[in-house]
Amino acid sequence: MKYLDEFRDPELAASLVESIHRRSTRQIRIMEFCGTHTVSIFKHGIRQLLPPTIEMLSGPGCPICVTANTDLDWAIALASQPNLIITTFGDMLRVPGSRSSLERAKAEGADIRIVYSTLDALQIARDNPERPVVFLGIGFETTAPTVAVSILQAREERIENYNVLSLHKLTPPATKAVLDSGESLLDGIIGPGHVTTVIGSRAWEFLPQEYGISCVIAGFEPLDVLQGIYTLVERVENSEPRVDNLYARSVRREGNQTALDYVNMVFEPNAADWRGMGTIPASGLRLRAEFRRFDARENYKVDPGPTEEPPGCLCGDVIRGAATPPDCPLYREACTPHNPVGPCMVSSEGTCAAYYMYAGEGL
């Protein structure tokens, strides 16, 4: 397929792998921030092609996984409000909260509908003017612009029954939190390609400047990832930390200004709860005052009950790269994609699910 096969060329891949082996002498740790990278690395079997000098860690870049149980419980409690329709991306459905999940709430009668776009959610609101419709705003800087546009559209069309529960999160503050925790000493980061398309590669310049760590912005095909790893090896070997944009077919230094403008028009940064990382200042997005009437948090008072974490679950540590899935006592035993305990096993982009699905035992 055009524009994909070029990035999966076996010969080019082999030559990149060979270059990495030749160039890598120092022991280094690389974190891929984004869940889509994690899946790509596993799906194409990239880890086994790397020399033992390179250790790959998976980061917090799975939006489902980083959603805190407090927020999840709130959404589940909201779903049980009579007459209300919840619209959500499908991944959220099976994530277990403290006591239930959206999937279970749905089975118990809640009207929860999977949508593929905020425009679908808006259409459901148009079609059901007498019922409140809430869209669960999950995701990083990538999904936030489309949610912002849906709210502007709702305002313009006076679709007053449309609400958003904004659980959006920002990636640079999360990266800082991972680094500040000091748990995983990283030499390089593969930055999130989709997120960076929106926020621009300049958003990562703090990594070399403040932390002395290199960052590559890479696409998601195997050659993209291998090229990213090779570049990070090169930077570490030469001790010259910097940001390299290798995803120039999508990413510019200044990002997508239109998307950023929409986000800024509708949202403002606020503190957000992250699974495994606690509350991080200015790491989330909430609706600005003039859009509060679309804010589900403002419009509904629900009691989600006390928050509980599943005993033994290491999702919080896995998200920070402080543990790998096999470190978790539940992994593969009590927790599988068929019967997940923590969110990292539910989401198709979760680190535990990627380990389980693609790596097997001892691979």
Partner: protein, 347 residues
């Protein structure tokens, strides 16, 4: 508009009219026309029907049933009627049986347009003729509005397994080559692309097809076909996992050898699906003794549903119960069963 009424399921005059005017013209088997409570069919030895070869007296019976609830009822490349015939015919074919007879049970929601039912039944007739099976028994139930989603169909099938044929998912042997009959993912994406809420238009067409003639062509050239399976729900990945587990063997496949049509690949990339897990309704995977593989492959290429057949891997002794995939760039990974529903990515 002419619609299904609750009375069509009452057993009275309307039921009779429905059977006489709508079903019987499409399913002309004399056995069915008798409208007895059960079909009394010929002994296997003389059961040759239509295009079927003579059935040996030593044949064993194969019997299967499946229910069809696909939504929407009609989609590009097929409909619930074609699925109901092909699915059951294929289940019989996958144990090496020659399909002979089908039953068809219809659960119809009150209010269904008569024309819709007529189209579905006509499609069943065409598919049954293509497969060379007769519908010899049937049932109709009408449920109140909301009691079913428009139309559900159950079919059961009876077939004859010739002597010497031992095909089972537990029969894969290390060294066997894995043959796939064609490109994967067509059916699942064709249905998905018509579902409400997914805003993309495409030319994707379901591959729904009866595979029994393909299987007879394969068996004609070699009895050393150890496993046959049609990778329907859960896709090729799930089917291969089932075979690996049941056969206590490992299966290694090559990503670059698995045919996937260009539009299916594109749609999968866009939606975040893996074609390995997408449903098929007209494909089979076979584990064949290595020395017989080439002949079987040639025979498959001569059948319209096997033109793209290709060897995609082999059966190994270890690691037991696992499916390994060699990726396009030379890495290796595990291919597991599908967990839950496949969902599109959100970032």
């Amino acid at each position: 508009m002419d619609r299904i009424l609750l009375a069509h399921g009452s057993g009275g005059q309307l039921s009779h009219d429905l059977i006489r005017d709508l079903f019987l013209p499409h399913f002309p088997a004399p056995t069915l026309a008798k409208l007895d409570d059960a079909a009394v069919v010929q002994p296997l030895a003389s059961a040759a029907t239509g295009a079927q070869p003579n059935i040996s007296r030593a044949s064993r019976l194969a019997f299967t049933t499946d229910s069809y609830v696909v939504k929407p009822l009609f989609f590009n490349g097929g409909d619930i009627g074609r699925l109901a015939v092909c699915g059951t015919v294929n289940d019989l074919a996958m144990v090496g049986a020659t399909p002979l007879y089908l039953s068809a049970g219809f659960v119809i929601e009150e209010g269904l347009e008569m024309e819709t039912l007529r189209r579905v039944v006509a499609s069943m007739k065409a598919s049954a003729e293509e497969a060379g099976v007769e519908v010899v028994a049937g049932d109709t139930k009408v449920v109140e509005r909301g009691g079913a989603d428009r139309l559900f169909i159950n079919t059961a099938g009876l077939g004859a397994v010739p002597p010497g044929i031992e095909i089972s998912a537990s029969n894969a042997q290390p060294g066997d080559l894995v043959i796939l009959s064609g490109a994967i993912g067509d059916h699942g994406l064709a249905v998905l692309s018509e579902r409400e809420g997914l805003a993309f238009k495409s030319q994707l067409a379901s591959d729904a097809a009866p595979l029994n003639h393909l299987v007879s062509a394969m068996l004609e050239v070699s009895p050393e076909i150890h496993v046959l399976r049609d990778p329907t729900r859960g896709g090729l990945a799930t089917t291969l996992n089932e075979i690996a587990r049941q056969s206590q063997a490992a299966i290694a496949i090559e990503e670059s050898r698995i045919p996937v049509h260009e539009d299916v690949r594109a749609a999968c990339e866009m939606l975040g699906y893996d074609p390995l897990y997408v449903a098929n309704e007209g494909k089979l995977v076979a584990m064949v003794a290595p020395h017989a593989a080439e002949a079987v492959l040639q025979a498959m290429h001569g059948d319209p549903y096997g033109k793209e057949a290709t060897i995609i891997g082999e059966v190994m002794a270890q690691p037991v119960g696992k499916v390994l995939l060699r990726t396009g760039i030379g890495g290796t990974r595990i291919v597991d069963m599908l967990a839950g529903e496949m969902l599109p990515r959100i970032c």
